[in-house]
């Protein structure tokens, strides 16, 4: 049977059928994933700038900033530019994924 893959009820890592699951009319919308991706991505970019600014202020004026251990490693390796750069790239990545997903779904919508 065509749907026999679904008999394998364990789908832990990703869901290959996500595009085909219909929950209701809202499942036909293509933009929610883009909005989520953009919001998250822009938020992360803002956080990257905010972090850079905070660390810069602490470096120039003297003062303290508490960093998480991962941030601390990045800061030790490459300073505030690497730390904020990586955060910024992650943000751009999320935004891109959102847009990409939107375009993919839009394409799916019109394809014959």
């Amino acid at each position: 049977m065509a749907l026999e893959e679904n008999k394998n009820r364990k789908m832990q890592f990703g869901n290959p059928y996500a595009d085909y699951e219909y929950y209701g009319k809202h499942s036909k919308r293509t933009w929610p994933s883009m909005v989520v991706g953009l919001l998250f991505g822009i938020g992360l970019c803002y956080f990257a700038w905010y972090r850079w600014h905070e660390i810069n202020m602490a470096e120039v004026m003297g003062g303290t900033v508490s960093l998480t251990s991962i941030e601390w490693i990045l800061y030790k390796v490459g300073g505030k530019w690497i730390l904020s750069g990586i955060l910024f790239l992650c943000g751009v990545g999320f935004a891109y994924l959102g847009v990409h997903n939107y375009r993919r779904l839009e394409k799916m919508k019109v394809e014959g």
Binding site: A2, N6, M11, E21, Y22, G24, T30, L105
Partner: protein, 235 residues
């Protein structure tokens, strides 16, 4: 914290919907809808989520993407979905988890309480034993002169008035690593010195330790009592 979970699909039913025209190949009569429901699995089903369907066309052998569903399909979907009931077992985790939590917390409280009660009983017994020592009683002693500490034993020889005569053990453990060994009480006489030392019972009662009449001050904190083959630990 890491914990393992899965997202599983509960299959509700598969229905043939021949009245639907496939939005992909525009052929009617070959469509079926497979109704399912996702739920999380952590040692058992917990937290079911919304019901959904996947549509498959047996003519063009394609699943219909959710974005391509027609209003016609939506109508049929809503009609069938209304009949579906979330199986009770999918909610099991919502009951089992709190119950398991309550059971675990209850067990911990019970164990601590029983242990606490036992300690209280033992403390009373040790107190009584200091007030009225019996020949052959052995006290587990944490001996110190303020700087050096060792772990040893006192064995009761006799009493007279306020005086208690005890044989100090020749065993002196100095490392906390030997705590297990410390609990193996030596009973034989050759583990003790031949001449007993006198201590004041009254003083031991007030301070919970046996004071030596020596300079510099030396004392032995009573840790437990060994009587009739039983060890009664205070802590």
């Amino acid at each position: 914290m890491f914990f393992y979970y899965q997202i599983r699909n509960h299959p509700h039913k598969t229905v043939a919907v021949p009245e639907i025209t496939c939005p992909l190949c525009h052929t009617a009569g070959h469509m079926e809808m497979n109704f399912m429901q996702k739920y999380a699995w952590v040692f058992g089903p917990i937290a079911p989520s919304g019901k959904f369907a996947m549509a498959f066309c047996d003519h063009c052998k394609n699943h219909v993407p959710a974005v391509r569903w027609t209003d016609e399909m939506d109508t049929v979907f809503q009609l069938h979905k209304r009949e579906l009931k979330t199986p009770r077992r999918l909610y099991r985790g919502l009951i089992v988890f709190p119950l398991a939590m309550v059971a675990i917390v209850g067990a911990i409280i019970l164990v601590t309480k029983v242990k606490g009660n036992k300690q209280q009983g033992n403390q009373a017994l040790v107190k009584e034993a200091i007030a009225h020592p019996r020949k052959g009683d052995i006290f587990q002693i944490n001996q110190s002169d303020g700087t050096n500490t060792n772990y040893t034993y006192f064995k009761v020889a006799s009493t007279r008035g306020d005086s208690i005569y005890m044989y100090p053990s020749t065993v002196h453990l100095t490392d906390m690593k030997d705590m297990k060994q410390w609990d193996e009480i030596p009973v034989a006489d050759d583990a003790y010195e031949k001449t007993p030392i006198a201590f004041s019972i009254k003083q031991a009662q007030t301070s919970d330790m046996f004071m030596y009449n020596t300079q510099p001050t030396q004392y032995g904190i009573v840790w437990s009592l060994y009587r009739d083959g039983q060890l009664y630990k205070k802590y």
